[in-house]
C-alpha cells in the first residue's frame, strides 16, 4: 500500500482520513510518525486562544472605517454613462445606414419583382403601418427605387444600388422598418424634399 500523500496527512490531522488509509498508518512507522507530528501541530495551532480587543477598540475601529470611507473620493462615472441614450441612437442609425448600403443578395419572394423597376404597390398588401410609410416615401422619391439616387439620398450619405432598398427593407423587422421610415421622413423634411 502506498504512503500517505500530503492531502491525506491533512485529512488525518482533521480526522477525516478514509479508514482504508488509516489502516496503512498501523503498518507504516514513517507515515505514522509524520501523521502524529502533523496532528500535534494542528492541535497546538488551534489551542491558541482568540485575541479579544476591548469594546472601546471596536468603537474606535468602526469610527475609523466610517471616516476613511467618508474621505474616500467618489470615482466619477464613466464618460459615456451620461450619453448612453445618445450613443444608442447613433449606433441604431449607423446600423440602419449599413443595412441600407449593403449589397445583399436578393431574397426570392413570390409576387415581389426585384428588378430595378420594382413596383412599390406590391408591398401594399402588407398590413403594416411602417410599410405604408416607406411606400409613401418611396412614391415621393421614386428615384430611390429606380436606381438614380436623389439629392435626399445623397444628403443621407446613402449609396443606393438598383433594387438594394427592396432587398434591404425586406430583411428589416417591423420595428426597424418603422424606425427607418421615421428617420427617412425626418431627413426628407429637414432637407426640404
Amino acid at each position: 500500500m502506498s504512503h500517505l500523500s500530503p492531502a491525506e496527512f491533512a485529512d488525518h490531522a482533521e480526522g477525516t482520513l478514509a479508514p482504508a488509509r488509516e489502516a496503512h498508518l498501523h503498518e507504516c512507522r514513517g507515515c505514522r510518525e509524520q501523521a502524529d507530528a502533523v496532528r500535534d501541530a494542528f492541535a497546538t495551532t488551534r489551542d491558541v486562544t482568540d485575541m479579544e480587543p476591548s469594546p472601546l477598540f471596536w468603537e474606535h475601529f468602526s469610527a475609523r472605517v466610517r471616516e476613511r470611507i467618508a474621505d474616500t473620493p467618489v470615482a466619477p462615472p464613466p464618460w459615456w454613462r451620461g450619453h448612453a441614450a445618445m450613443l444608442a441612437s447613433a449606433i441604431t442609425v449607423m446600423l440602419l445606414v449599413l443595412v441600407i448600403g449593403l449589397d445583399a443578395p436578393r431574397p426570392r419572394v413570390a409576387g415581389i419583382p426585384m428588378s430595378s423597376g420594382a413596383s412599390i404597390s406590391a408591398l401594399d398588401a402588407r398590413p403594416d403601418a411602417a410599410w405604408d410609410m416607406l411606400a409613401s416615401l418611396a412614391e415621393e422619391d421614386t428615384s430611390v427605387t429606380s436606381g438614380a439616387p436623389s439629392d435626399a439620398a445623397h444628403a443621407l450619405g446613402l449609396s443606393v444600388r438598383p433594387a438594394t432598398v427592396d432587398a434591404a427593407v425586406l430583411e428589416l423587422s417591423a420595428a426597424e422598418r418603422e424606425e427607418l421610415g421615421r428617420l427617412l421622413k425626418d431627413e426628407l423634411k429637414r432637407s426640404g424634399a
Binding site: T44, T45, S62, R68, I69
Partner: protein, 210 residues
Amino acid sequence: MLTRAWTSSVRPEWKVTLTGPGPDADDTAPLIEVSSDRELVEACLAERPGAFDLLLQRHRRQVYQLCYRFVSNHEDASDLAQDVFVRAYRGLRNFRGQSSLATWLYRIGVNVCLNRVGSKTPRPGPLTHEDRLPSRAEGQADAVLREERARQVRAAIARLPKRQRATLILRAYHDLPHEDIAGILGSSVGAVKANFFHALKNLRKLLGEV
C-alpha cells in the same frame, strides 16, 4: 418595529435581533433588521441608514482576527482590517452572492494581508494589556504561560510562506472548508490540503526551534 440589532459576536448567517446594546455595540449601532447577507448588501447599496454599520458590526471581529493572525501585531491588524472594509465598501456592487459575505470579506482580507506581508516584514507583538480582555477562569500564572505559548505559535505562523500561512489561518482559526479556501486563494482543493500539511509540518519545525 425597529429594534437594535447586535450580531457581531455570533455567526453572520444567524438572524439575531436584541433590544438594547450588547457588549460589542457602539454609539452608532444600526437600527435596521436584515437576515441574509444578500439583504444586507442590497440595503448597503440602497444606502439605507445603518446598513453598512451593521455589516461592519457583523464581520469586523473575524476580519480583524484574520489580519491579526497574519501580522501578529495589533496596530497593523487594525489598519489592515480597516483597509478591508474600505475596499469592501467600494466594491460592494461586485458582490454577486456566489459565496457568503464572510467568505467574500475573507478573500479581500487575504489579498490585503498578502500584499502587506509582501511589502513589509511582520513585526510580531502581543496585544497590549489595555486591548486584551483577561479570562477570569484562569489564574494569572496560567494566563502568562498560555499567552507566551500563543505568542510563540503566532510568531511561528508569521514565518510561514504566505500561502501556507493563509491556508493555515483560514482552516485552523476560521474553520473555512477547503473548498472555500481554494476559492479564496484561487487554487485547487488538493493544493489547499497540501499547503495545509506543509504549513503544519513547518510550524512544528519552527516551534521545535524555540
